[in-house]
Amino acid sequence: MTRAFKILSFQIAVLAAGGVMMTTVATMTHAAAPPAAAVQIDNFTFEAPTLTVRPGTTVTWTNQDDIPHTVVSKDGAFKSKVLDTGDKFSFTFAKAGQFGYYCSLHPHMAGTVIVKG
């Protein structure tokens, strides 16, 4: 019984230490991570259709539809492969500007990312 208690205590200590370490890692990651933003693709629309972010932001699109879509910029700056249900595509916007994009399968689906500092 005593021995079991010791093992349990040891486990708790390990867990606690691990927790501290994980928190530290998470904080470090957070401090170092570039800004991020998300756009959901749902019901054949980009939500939100206009997104404003700071330079250096990574935007991630996720296809929530049962039908595949693509994310293609109008000026050729970025182009996803086909995104089936649940697939994601990310692009980092380094410079300021306005970036129109659309789905090359369903071109009536359109959106814009505005990048400004």
Binding site: N43, D66, Y102, P107
Partner: protein, 312 residues
């Protein structure tokens, strides 16, 4: 030229095998619609020329496996079994695109194998789902578009009818709908130039060649230019897919028709937040999937279209 009612009744009689389904008789582009029963009740005289039929299948989406259809291969097999069971075998099959869900080789393979069981020639046009390989449609064209031009367009003549296969899913423009493009329109002009206005013309393409619903992109931006080239013909029938439901309209001497999918239905225009699959209960699904039989009788330039479902 278009007033030979006896022939029409003659071939309507031949359509007795087709079972349930709305029936549309095109009279120089002016469609008369009637129930099959009343059509069969009309006096029948033998047709002067042997009719021929072809079958349109569409939007098989091989590889689709989500609600409302866990197996689009199985429903495509059912549709093809229906074709094989037709008492009057069609001369050929037309597939109006979205053969596959994701342009994968195994999806194209399976579609090809299932269609092969009919032993019939099959003519294809790509849908946007067939353009998803890294080369933007090459996989489809290498397999189903041999001898075609550009993104996959071509024409052929069959028993006095001119068939034109158009591609309106390539190089789509941001904010737009379907698109034929200048190169294809130029080809169409030259292709039609060699045919007299009395030649019946059947055009097939994936996305409708008239605007069914712009908010969902259900139309073709430059369709009007193609329709202008077709306007001088006495009988034009345009067969499309893409919207997974039957719609039809007649404009002048041009009759438009969209076919059901063999994979899943889509909502009627504007009746849902988006055009995604209509998630109907399993027992309702077969009644919303189907094929289209088209019958042509030489001499009276009419085409009868019969849509039948997998439940019929």
């Amino acid at each position: 030229m278009f007033d030979n009612d006896e022939d029409r009744r003659g071939f309507l009689k031949c359509m007795a095998w087709a079972g349930t389904g709305a029936l549309f008789a095109f009279d120089g582009g002016i469609a008369g619609s009637m129930g099959l029963d009343s059509a069969l009740a009309a006096p029948v005289r033998p047709s002067a020329a042997a009719p021929f039929t072809f079958v349109q299948v569409s939007d098989s989406h091989i590889g689709f496996n989500k609600p409302p259809n866990a197996d689009a291969r199985a429903t495509f097999r059912e549709a093809i079994a229906k074709v094989k069971a037709l008492r009057v075998q069609p001369d050929f099959i037309v597939h109006t695109g979205d053969v596959s869900q994701l342009s994968r080789d195994d999806e194209f393979d399976d579609a090809q194998q299932i269609l092969k069981e009919t032993g019939l020639p099959v003519f294809f046009v790509p849908g946007e789902h067939d353009m998803l390989d890294p080369d933007g449609g090459k996989a489809f064209l290498n397999r189903f578009g041999k001898g075609s031009k550009g993104a996959g367009w071509y024409s052929f003549d069959h028993r006095g009818v001119h068939f034109v296969a158009l591609v309106n899913v390539a190089d789509l423009k941001p904010g737009g709908m379907g698109n034929l493009g200048a190169e294809q329109l130029k080809w169409l002009q030259a292709d039609l130039a060699g045919h007299s206005s009395s030649t019946p013309v059947v055009v097939f393409a994936h996305i409708p060649l008239w605007t069914v619903y712009a908010d969902w992109g259900w139309g073709t931006d430059d369709a009007a230019e193609a329709l202008k080239l077709l306007a001088r013909f006495g009988s034009v029938t345009i067969l499309n897919g893409h919207i997974h439901q039957i719609t039809q309209k007649v404009e002048g001497r041009i009759a438009f028709h969209t076919a059901r999918s063999t994979a899943f239905p889509q909502p009627a225009p504007g009746t849902a937040p988006g055009p995604g699959p209509l998630k109907v209960p399993p027992e309702q699904l077969p009644g919303m999937l189907g094929i289209t039989d088209a019958m042509f009788v030489r001499g009276n330039q009419r085409i009868a279209l019969i849509d039948s479902t997998l439940s019929a």
